[in-house]
């Protein structure tokens, strides 16, 4: 099997639309609501989840045959928590600014259901390389939605993008957009559009 065989490409591309963790698997909603009131934390969170999903997928995939079935969830959790802690320590030492920004999100990554979902559903049964691609794909699928929601919320909520004023100064920010409730409504709209135009539940089977 080649590194980018048809099967592997599918593993990478499927979570972007047809099997998107947020839109179709409906995982990781809570963090998607919490961090998307502005674009920047949404991007940082998306990238961090992508990296950590990919690497925890690889590690679990490598040791998948040795894990006792009865404590597999605990083992997965330990691996994820250790990885997140190491990443946050490294950030603190070498990219302090980013780590300060990430502060609360790092904790959220450990409890992100996408990670556990992918470890349980994919990494436990597949080889390291496809698992890595699956992690990247799901992370990017998650990041994509976060960025769309963050974009809309920051633009209409405060008239800025990444902190820069985009809409004219006379624009009064829509406070509703900065509330988590609005993220849920936006997410609903995204899922609706996605189901209506891109995703056919029955036909895909």
């Amino acid at each position: 099997m080649g590194l980018f065989s048809k099967q592997n490409k599918q593993v990478l591309a499927k979570p972007l639309s047809l099997d998107n963790p947020i839109m179709v698997q409906v995982l990781g909603i809570c963090s998607a609501l919490a961090v998307t009131s502005q674009l920047k934390p949404a991007i940082v969170m998306g990238l961090a989840v992508t990296v950590i999903t990919a690497f925890s997928n690889v590690i679990i995939s490598i040791i998948r045959k040795s894990i006792p079935m009865r404590i597999r969830i605990i083992v997965q959790l330990v691996v994820v928590a250790a990885l997140v802690t190491i990443v946050s320590q490294i950030l603190k030492a070498f990219a302090y600014d980013v780590s300060v920004q990430l502060s609360v999100y790092v904790g959220l990554i450990i409890t992100n259901c996408i990670l556990m979902g992918r470890l349980e559903a994919f990494a436990m049964m597949n080889k390291p390389w496809p698992s890595f691609l699956d992690g990247i794909g799901n992370g990017l699928g998650y990041a994509m939605i976060l960025i769309i929601v963050g974009f809309v919320r920051e633009l209409f909520g405060r008239g800025t993008l990444l902190g820069f004023q985009v809409l004219p100064d006379s624009y009064v920010g829509n406070g509703m957009m900065t509330m988590p409730a609005m993220a849920l409504i936006l997410l609903g709209c995204i899922i609706w559009v996605h189901r209506a135009y891109f995703y056919k539940e029955e036909e895909s089977k």
Binding site: K65, I67, P68, V78, A93, Y96, V100, V104
Partner: protein, 233 residues
């Protein structure tokens, strides 16, 4: 290999925990020095931010801190200097944490910006989800705010976190008074939902009422400890 037996499960989990523990301890030890440098530098930058000196890179900020801060004294609530700091000091008041603060050791940064004396007072409080803190720079009249900077550990991004991220909000503190005129015993500087007295109040962050209340409580609690100093003119 039989991976379902009790013995295997117990041994496996023990080994895993020990390996992870060693790994984390190693990473922590190896990275600690680099992290400490970052933390100290970050603190220096925050003090400079409160003095409206922003946008410096790490090296320039460290140099500027040495130049601007005349002394990082430790005082007590009777305005007595417990331990004198030094020029560009990072040994005395700079080292104090919120715990020292509760024990009555108060840090006071005496600074000189463009030839004028400014005082920077650190403040500590609680936000909605966790601790918040900040630095308040005041003019030598000990009433007028020169600048402010706030920091938090876990406030909600885009809402409570705005106390740190929104520079415009911090700039609103410039020129505010600590006291209402005629009353120099009660700290009036606050961030309420509805501003009644524009001289001492700053509009709270919308969507973050509880964090804003925390900021108000922080001013009241911390600045009250400095009353003797603030009234000694």
């Amino acid at each position: 290999m039989k991976t379902n037996s009790n013995t295997y499960t117990i041994i496996y989990s023990s080994v895993l925990v020990v390996v992870v523990a060693f790994l984390l301890a190693f990473v922590f030890q190896a990275l600690k020095p680099a992290q400490d440098v970052n933390v100290a530098l970050d603190k220096q930058k925050q003090i400079l931010y409160s003095l409206n000196i922003r946008g410096l890179d790490n090296i320039a900020a460290a140099a500027k801190y040495k130049e601007v801060v005349i002394a990082d004294d430790i005082i007590d609530s009777n305005d007595k200097v417990v331990k004198a700091g030094s020029q560009g000091g990072t040994e005395a008041g700079f080292m104090l944490s919120s715990a020292d603060y509760k024990a009555g050791k108060l840090a006071l940064f005496r600074c000189k910006v463009d030839g004028k004396i400014k005082y920077v007072i650190p403040v500590y409080g609680m936000g909605l989800w966790g601790p918040i803190n900040g630095y308040l720079a005041i003019n030598d009249d000990k009433v007028t705010v020169f600048g402010a900077y706030f920091n938090h550990e876990s406030e909600t991004a885009g809402l409570g976190a705005e106390i740190k991220d929104n520079q415009k909000w911090q700039e609103k503190f410039q020129g505010k008074k600590l006291f209402k005129s005629g009353d120099n015993q009660n700290i009036a500087l606050s961030t309420p939902k509805k501003v009644d007295d524009p001289a001492t109040q700053v509009d709270g962050v919308s969507g973050a009422t509880l964090t804003s209340n925390g900021v108000t409580a922080m001013f009241k609690e911390c600045l009250t400890k400095y009353l003797k100093f603030l009234n000694d003119k």
